[in-house]
Symmetry: D2
Subunit: 346 residues, 4 copies
Amino acid sequence: MKPKIKVSIVGGSGYTGIELLRLLISHPNVIIDQITSRNDSGKLVSAIYPSLRGTLSNVFVDPAEANLKESELVFFATPNGIAMNYVQELLDNGVKVIDLAADFRIKNVSIWEKWYGMKHQAAEELKKAVYGLPEVNRAAIKEAQLVANPGCYPTAIQLALAPLIKSNLINTETIIADAKSGISGAGKKTETQLLMSEASENFRAYGLTGHRHLPEIEENLQAITGQKKIRLTFVPHLIPMVRGIHATLYVDCIQDFDPLIIFNECYKDEPFIDILEPGSCPETKSVRGSNICRLSFYKIPDSNRLIILSVIDNLVKGAAGQAIQNMNIMMDWPENTGLDLLALHP
Amino acid sequence: MKPKIKVSIVGGSGYTGIELLRLLISHPNVIIDQITSRNDSGKLVSAIYPSLRGTLSNVFVDPAEANLKESELVFFATPNGIAMNYVQELLDNGVKVIDLAADFRIKNVSIWEKWYGMKHQAAEELKKAVYGLPEVNRAAIKEAQLVANPGCYPTAIQLALAPLIKSNLINTETIIADAKSGISGAGKKTETQLLMSEASENFRAYGLTGHRHLPEIEENLQAITGQKKIRLTFVPHLIPMVRGIHATLYVDCIQDFDPLIIFNECYKDEPFIDILEPGSCPETKSVRGSNICRLSFYKIPDSNRLIILSVIDNLVKGAAGQAIQNMNIMMDWPENTGLDLLALHP
Amino acid sequence: MKPKIKVSIVGGSGYTGIELLRLLISHPNVIIDQITSRNDSGKLVSAIYPSLRGTLSNVFVDPAEANLKESELVFFATPNGIAMNYVQELLDNGVKVIDLAADFRIKNVSIWEKWYGMKHQAAEELKKAVYGLPEVNRAAIKEAQLVANPGCYPTAIQLALAPLIKSNLINTETIIADAKSGISGAGKKTETQLLMSEASENFRAYGLTGHRHLPEIEENLQAITGQKKIRLTFVPHLIPMVRGIHATLYVDCIQDFDPLIIFNECYKDEPFIDILEPGSCPETKSVRGSNICRLSFYKIPDSNRLIILSVIDNLVKGAAGQAIQNMNIMMDWPENTGLDLLALHP
Amino acid sequence: MKPKIKVSIVGGSGYTGIELLRLLISHPNVIIDQITSRNDSGKLVSAIYPSLRGTLSNVFVDPAEANLKESELVFFATPNGIAMNYVQELLDNGVKVIDLAADFRIKNVSIWEKWYGMKHQAAEELKKAVYGLPEVNRAAIKEAQLVANPGCYPTAIQLALAPLIKSNLINTETIIADAKSGISGAGKKTETQLLMSEASENFRAYGLTGHRHLPEIEENLQAITGQKKIRLTFVPHLIPMVRGIHATLYVDCIQDFDPLIIFNECYKDEPFIDILEPGSCPETKSVRGSNICRLSFYKIPDSNRLIILSVIDNLVKGAAGQAIQNMNIMMDWPENTGLDLLALHP
């Protein structure tokens, strides 16, 4: 048996942080070394997250005092714009890095800077970064030292579209992604609109005039096609629940084909993709707590329009679970190590 | 002061029934005469709905024993396929009828029979029925003796599209309606999927392969255009909350125009339509319990695509409130009589 | 017809503020004059609360610039410790005041200062203040110029206990009040624990070691008995929903009596108290949005233990609705003016 | 490595059934043999519970066709009154049985028959049955062939009271248990009151005049004391959420003692009991999906009253998790085998 590796988490007090902890505690190949938090340093992690009491004795470390270089791999579960300041030193010291924020998701620096409103501090490292969507990029992830973990919406949407775009089956400029997310996707921020009194028993769109996940999706789908232009209409909505993303995709087919064959062929060896019978409707609850992406579709009769439905748990396949999947690939471990999670129903 | 009129409700024990009661109890011009229920006949209405205790002394009457002809107006809050068996006798006796179910929403009998899976029993009355969407059909409603109250999705969707279709501004064959409804839209049925353990903390589409509201929307929008063909892709979803519909519409513009001018002009005198600033996002909670439809839109830059957002309370503007609005028009009362309802927030 | 009176609201941007607005907009005898807000001054009230769009044109006024003396009655929907600084000047100018916060709920200044952690600034006015629980204090409220609107838990709990205590039927030192509140009771505060991600699908007690409503309940129940000591064990809990309080009271009877007779006799003329059949269980949803307190009880066989259940909407009978009930009494209007609100079901 | 044992589930289509499956699928020592269901026989289990797709290929078997004797252990996740008809034959064939329903929870047959409204069919087996609360009965469970898995409320309540009763520290005739449960505790029954439209945004007590869990609690606590009479006032309430029980216990102390010492001493070796700091408040969400019971307490100053708070997940420690804990004990496996479940937060 190989010895376990040390991993650390920067920014462990948010929701992707605690979800990483939930999964890493049960992962057989890792030891959780340091967990940093600016606000909660000095406190027991399990004092902030009582669900971890009895399983984790770590104390939050101030980021300034953390010694991350001793870890073999570091996860950044920080806000956007943090990881880019740390990454060069870590990479230089041979540490692997998985950034769960957006710093390395878009290769085009000027687009990134426009959407994220800050100067990019690690343009050189950005070139080396690999976009960590295993079902599309597995080979590159295997060799990567720096992985940009995809956003939650981009994961659900790209897994629905990749097989069709790869095979050049749809018009790539008329795609519509009507996406809906549970409120944990907004993180543990104390904003009025995230209060239970406001968000429960309520439904609304947001970011109608532009959402940061749009350029991420467009650039990374473009990388699949090679040349064709991608144009997406993307409207996110907030669901009055905690976990889950449901993306409803509307595309125009440019060929006649059987989507079931295309999807089954493309994903036949994927451990975390589940294709349902055409016309059926996947539920977010069926993936809650698991790393599965469940897909379905329906071709409208006498029309070239195809509808694809895609559900994931935004904190698992849309964040922490996918990060661990990426770690498993980078470390050459079986991809499902520590990820055989069953959804919690009801 | 004119004397109050007598109204009755057939099928008063479901959710549209109790919502009608909530509104009629406060309506200054009506006396609630008979309330029928097959299952609960003989019981106090307020024993089934304790929220009405102290305000209503009516007992549920068996439909077979009800004397509906004594009422000036009868609401049917029954399942589909009931009202069509009663309507002829009522109309013959000079009683006005508003059907909150689907029996008279579609003029084309063969399409109706295909979608509702039964033979239509009142084809003659169907010809006289007026589709009760006041913002589109007010003049005809004023003269009608039989009004077909629109479905909840069709109300939210048609109010979003009517101004654009009237002015011939969009491609009517590529419309997409991604619609979401709170669970009360499914009624008070004891089905597994409507249990709180199943439906809460869950989101899913349904009726992907076809929903009865689609032909209703298509036929009634077609009536607006006169000749152009309407083709809609309609995907309904279930939101883990009780009240509210949110429709997200995607249309392709065939002219250059300012949607704000079009919507404001079309709806400038409407008491129950509220147009928000372009790019903003209406919340279902802002209309919960009220008869308002709140609309917003956003034109995607460098594109002919327009997004329209529409929210209503499915039980009020999508059912009971709209029925009372129709009654007010039919009776020549001020249209907002009994409908100055403020939404419940939070 | 008498002319309408002007009323103002200090601190109109919180949940009791918006609920006051919802009710005052429909109240036939008042004109809403000024609505102050420190954070939102200069903004349209309906921009913060879209549910009020189209019904209210007021702009939030900075408290420093408000001219409250022009109002006949001023509501304070402020945090604790604000009203006490304004009240003297208002009373001196003949303005009536209803404080929805805690400044005047407890007569014993040292107990108040201990629990609220600040010095009381209006000890003289405190002596004149009347505790605004109409079912107990109606005569005094009629004559009052300054009314302390009771807290939400105290309202639910005292209405359950008052008939028993008045008639000296229970041991007043062994009372247990196990109370549960929807999250709107905590107000519109951006605290982590009030986020939907934390509070939904969760249940917990809080304030186990002491809650400010305890001395309020004890002092005001004591006022009823005249001499007997009141001792209450009070444990509040947070329910994963927005509106509603459910109090479960456990008392030891010191006499043999029929609770139904006692409750019916005590509350027979009360417009907002509804006594259910013994052994039945009132639902918070049956009072959501209404000013009703619904009560039930059950005497355990072969025991002197009596259980009383009490439900209210914390924002209505527990705050804004009761404030308006108090205004109606102070103004000598019918007590239910503007308060014939039906609960929203489902 | 020892070979895995075969286990079967009778009545696998309800919520305790699917929760057993979630846990057994990950249990290293078992093979899931047969899963019976009257209604769903012939269907894939994963067709009814899509969350299990890809992990379980079993088809529901009709109970009449099941061969349960081939299993080493059979779980009954059936309604009350089923297991008692099967148990003799299974025991005679050397099969171990764990009944998650109520058939063997109460030794006193006449009390059982009174509360469950049917004749007991296995009075002989009932004598051999062991009440499966491991923290109280571990030694007997080890030797048992038939285990009665405790009810969900009784688990939360007895774990809170057992240390105090064992040490004779409280008055056993004045105990109050104010208990609250998520709606999954009512099972997957299609009843109106369990619909999301009814149960969400609502809170109420039920079973005020008597609940079947009361005699179970009283008899089994009595077994601990040996002689003292137990008398409990038990009021269950329904929380608008899916999983979780919160019990708030009020007891009168008859001695002076430090509860922290008592609880820590009693539970110091227990893998699934977590004692919080006195005065703190455990959250149901902190145990959601896990087998933990989290306890806290607070002694009211200048009083002999002690409050104890107890939270569990009703489907795990209150049902399926405890059943597996009992299996582990019966099979002499480490007690936490397959039960190192971390709660899902948020």
